[in-house]
């Protein structure tokens, strides 16, 4: 990403190639620096940068699609291990990726710094003296009338040229914004990199699942998953809290797209500070909650049916909601696991299929045909008694009973009929009962604080604006020579330093020189 169009670049390339046979440490350093900042190296680094990003789209990335990374480990642990050794699940955090972009940005600095100096010098310098023979220039015209140097200079200044004069000639130049834009664009890219870095160091991200009726307070302990930047202090989290009062999902009911979601809306009661009065906020997919720059996003949702479970001793061992995993997003067929650790005399593990819109299918099966909860049922397809292994200290997923533990449990029920809300299933042998008491929904939230957001936005906007100047403005020079004697005529010549079409504009400059003013010239770049 080096600045385009550099005569200096070409020189340093030659220097890089013709390196002397014997070099001291300083010589090597200089050679390295010149090679690094040469345009060819910059181009190669640029293409390497693009090439190095490709694996990130081929293999799933941690933090983007963790579940798929897990699938790789499950399918072929050895291959996954090897892929991981080359950071292919973390391409954008890989040292080799960092090496490429750090070298690229170093190359960029090495190019931008000297060019900024040169440009600043040039901004203070006067345009160069007129060449002897203007008719040799790409653009040339003979001017009519007798024009004096002073008058030509005045007319060119009116066209916003930067003008200098000498004996019998005028030299004018404009389009300095091209290089200014070029340099600012590259500086803005550096700024963007810094902003991203600041965001990664001083920001944090966390995920949490909240069931209707439950609340969340922004503390590290409240997160299901919390990913802080290195410089984040756990005490510094924005102290807001909220309760999820209601969640609504609406779906298309008819036609080809039946079951496709139309809208999600979560009603939150938010306290910006502990003890502050609550305000209501409607959280939607494109409308995050903003509390002083800490953003809460609605990412996902699902069902959390509620159950009341009575154990073998007749006591209520569990009462509450159970968030379920969505198995089929088209129908929201879900699977839930209830681990009743307090059940007596033995712990109970219950596997439930939750069907939001239940209809009977062939072979005595039951299926869901729609994601909305039109006819919700909970079907117990496995109930087990025994030690669930939750006191071993080995962390377990709340969404499954590990197969090796399930093997040791005593099966009670294999497949029961679906329960409607309010119905109860008695477990055989007096082991207790399961009552399906209602349906709630859960939402998955991401909470993000990124202090680099606004700086990154400013840098991007600056980069785009500067890019437009850099690509559209041309640097152009116009000279006028005024002859001496009665037969003499004035002539003008012009060129652009960066190529492109100058004929049309030159013609209008000539017209302005001839007539003193030209309403047709609007180009004031």
């Amino acid at each position: 990403m080096t600045v385009t169009d550099t005569p200096e670049r070409d020189d340093s390339e030659k220097a890089a190639e013709a390196r002397p046979a014997k070099l001291g440490a300083v010589g090597w350093a200089r050679w390295f620096w010149r090679t690094l900042t040469s345009m060819r190296t910059a181009l190669i680094l640029l293409f390497l940068f693009a090439l190095a990003s490709i694996p990130g789209s081929i293999w799933p990335q941690r933090g983007v699609s963790d579940a798929m990374v897990g699938q790789y480990y499950a399918d072929d642990p050895e291959l996954a291990e090897w892929l991981d050794r080359f950071w292919l699940f973390d391409v954008f955090k890989a040292p080799w990726f960092a090496a490429i972009y750090l070298l690229l940005f170093l190359s960029l600095i090495g190019c931008v710094l000297p060019r900024t100096m040169a440009h600043l010098r040039e901004l203070r310098k006067k345009p160069p003296a007129a060449p002897r023979n203007l008719s040799r220039l790409p653009q040339h015209a003979v001017l009519d009338g007798d024009l004096t140097v002073e008058e030509a200079a005045r007319r060119l200044r009116r066209l916003r040229f930067r003008v200098t004069t000498g004996p019998g000639w005028v030299s004018a130049e404009k389009g300095y914004l091209k290089e200014t834009g070029n340099l600012l664009f590259h500086v803005a890219l550096l700024g963007l990199l810094v902003a991203i870095g600041v965001g990664a160091l001083y920001g944090y991200r966390g995920n949490v699942l909240v069931v209707e009726g439950d609340g969340f307070a922004n503390t590290v302990a409240a997160y299901d998953r919390y990913m802080p930047g290195q410089q984040v202090n756990a005490e510094s989290l924005e102290p807001f809290s909220f309760t999820l009062e209601d969640f609504q999902a609406t779906y298309i009911a008819k036609g080809d797209k039946r079951g496709q979601a139309l809208d999600y809306s979560a009603k939150l009661a938010v306290s910006d500070l502990p003890g502050a009065p609550e305000r209501t906020y409607e959280l939607k997919v494109n409308e995050p909650l903003d509390v002083n720059g800490t953003m809460t996003y609605l990412l996902d949702h699902g069902y959390a049916p509620t159950f009341k479970i009575t154990d073998g001793k007749g006591q209520v061992a569990f009462e509450g909601s159970v968030p379920c995993l969505v198995i089929d997003p088209a129908t929201f067929t879900s699977e839930c696991v209830i681990k009743v650790a307090d059940a007596q005399p033995e712990q109970l593990g219950i596997l439930v299929a939750f069907l939001p819109s239940t209809v009977p299918a062939e072979g005595g099966e039951w299926v869901s045909i729609f994601p909305g909860a039109a006819n919700p049922t909970a079907q117990v397809y496995g109930a087990f008694a025994g030690d669930l292994g939750m006191r071993d200290g080995v962390p377990q997923s709340v969404y499954e009973i590990p197969p090796e533990i399930q093997k040791k449990l005593k099966p009670l029920v294999m497949k029961a009929d679906p329960l409607a809300v309010g119905q109860k299933l008695d477990l055989p042998g007096g082991a207790g009962s399961i009552e399906f008491t209602g349906v709630k929904e859960w939402i998955a939230l991401q909470i993000t604080y990124d202090p680099g957001r606004m700086p990154a936005l400013l840098a991007s906007v600056l980069a785009t604006v500067a890019l437009v100047f850099s690509l559209t403005v041309r640097r152009r020079r116009v000279w006028v020579r005024v002859g001496e004697g009665p037969q003499a005529r004035a002539e003008a010549g012009g060129l652009t330093r960066t190529g492109g079409d100058f004929g049309e504009e030159f013609a209008s400059v000539v017209a302005a020189l001839n007539h003193g003013s030209n309403p047709g010239v609007k180009d004031a770049r």
Binding site: M1, T4, D10, M39, R40, A42, L43, L46, F47, F49, A50, S53, I54, G56, S57, Q61, G63, V64, S65, V91, R136, P138, Q139, H140, A141, V142, R205, I252, A253, K254, G255, D256, K257, Q260, A261, L262, D263, Y264, V285, N286, P288, M295, L299, T448, D450, R453, A456, L457, S460, T464, L467, L471, T472, T496, G499, G500, D501, F502, G503, E504
Partner: protein, 343 residues
């Protein structure tokens, strides 16, 4: 947003798309006739009515000033030589061209008229689709491809107003006809509401910018392909220098728009997904495309990279763009999976 689409408007949109394909195909044939039997560009540029291709090495200078230079006895100008060479290549070495049959001379004009008409019908198809669904008409792959074809033809026709690039017509309009045909054949889905995440005003900003930039990149890509397949005997095609200049022009306009599209996408992602940049596959390939086009702009400014090498870089960037449009939507799962490919 209405849950149901207007079936009458949706059906009208489907028919307008078919009409567009038909118009584009006929226009392409007319362009091909014009290309095969019409005047070679060098001759055409000699004709006074035809605008001179802007800046043949900065030699857009009108004929009057060229003769003036000769008057001054200054023939060392490379541009003047180029101009006279071109004149020789076309008229000097050949006998005076036979007058062309009327159907050939009219083919080019007819092709342009058909393309403009096709563009209007294409736009109408997109508009009725949007009205039918009650939202911006680029909410799935089918609509997106239609919009891109529209943008490519529009980019070509608008460039054609300023520069003599009619030769591109057969390629760009032909590609648009193919694209629309493929969309109707493989991607068509019933008009209806878009996915929830697309319910944002950002779709008007981010996706429109991406579509406009893609249209320009398609024009540049067509130039690049012609550049590579053109042999020196093909007098009906413009010179390589001209092809490169047209491609460069399109990319110089398209690149800032693409930059803007990526930034607008980041702003939207910040609203919808909780981060402005997250290396989603679509983001990765938009980034790669951006980098390679940036590489092209640098390559053109570097000694030894102009011409063929720069064109190859440009085409690699174009391939990345196409992969991002087609490959990522269909083959790679990610947050941008809005394709709704009919199963």
């Amino acid at each position: 947003m209405p849950a149901e689409a207007d079936p009458v408007l949706a059906a009208l949109s489907d028919q307008l798309i078919l009409a567009t394909v038909l118009l584009y195909v006929i226009a392409m044939l007319a362009y091909a006739l014009d290309l095969a039997f019409g005047r070679a560009p060098a001759e055409a540029s000699a004709a006074p009515a035809e605008p001179v291709l802007a800046a043949v090495g900065g030699a857009a200078a009108p004929a009057a000033s060229a003769s003036q230079r000769e008057e001054n006895g200054d023939t060392a100008l490379s541009e003047a030589e180029e101009t006279s060479e071109a004149g020789e290549g076309a008229g000097g070495t050949q006998p005076a061209p036979k007058p062309l049959p009327v159907w050939v001379t009219k083919a080019g004009t007819a092709a342009l008229a058909l393309s403009w008409l096709g563009l209007v019908v294409n736009l109408a198809a997109l508009a009725t689709r949007g009205l039918a669904a009650g939202r911006w008409p680029w909410g799935n792959m089918y609509e997106f491809v239609i919009a891109i074809c529209l943008a490519a033809v529009a980019a070509f026709l608008l460039m054609q107003l300023r520069y003599p690039v009619r030769f591109l017509g057969a390629f760009v309009v032909g590609a648009a006809a193919l694209g629309l045909g493929a969309a109707v054949h493989a991607l068509q889905v019933e008009a209806g509401p878009a996915m929830v995440a697309l319910n944002s005003y950002w779709i008007a900003i981010h996706v429109s910018a991406a579509i406009a930039a893609s249209g320009l990149f398609i024009v540049a890509g067509a130039c690049g392909v012609i550049y590579l397949i053109r042999n020196d005997a093909a007098v009906h095609l413009p010179t390589r220098e001209e092809l490169e200049r047209v491609a460069h022009r399109a990319i110089v306009i398209g690149f800032p728009i693409w930059t803007f599209a990526v930034i607008a996408g980041a702003l939207w992602a910040d609203k919808a997904w909780g981060r402005y940049w997250g290396w989603d596959p679509k983001e990765i390939w938009a980034f790669i495309t951006w980098i390679v086009y940036a590489g092209y702009l640098h390559a053109r400014a570097t000694a030894g990279w102009k011409g063929r090498s720069a064109t190859v870089v440009q085409l690699v960037a174009f391939a990345c763009l196409l992969f991002n449009l087609i490959g990522v939507n269909i083959f790679i799962p990610g947050l941008h999976s809005y394709a709704e490919i009919p199963g």
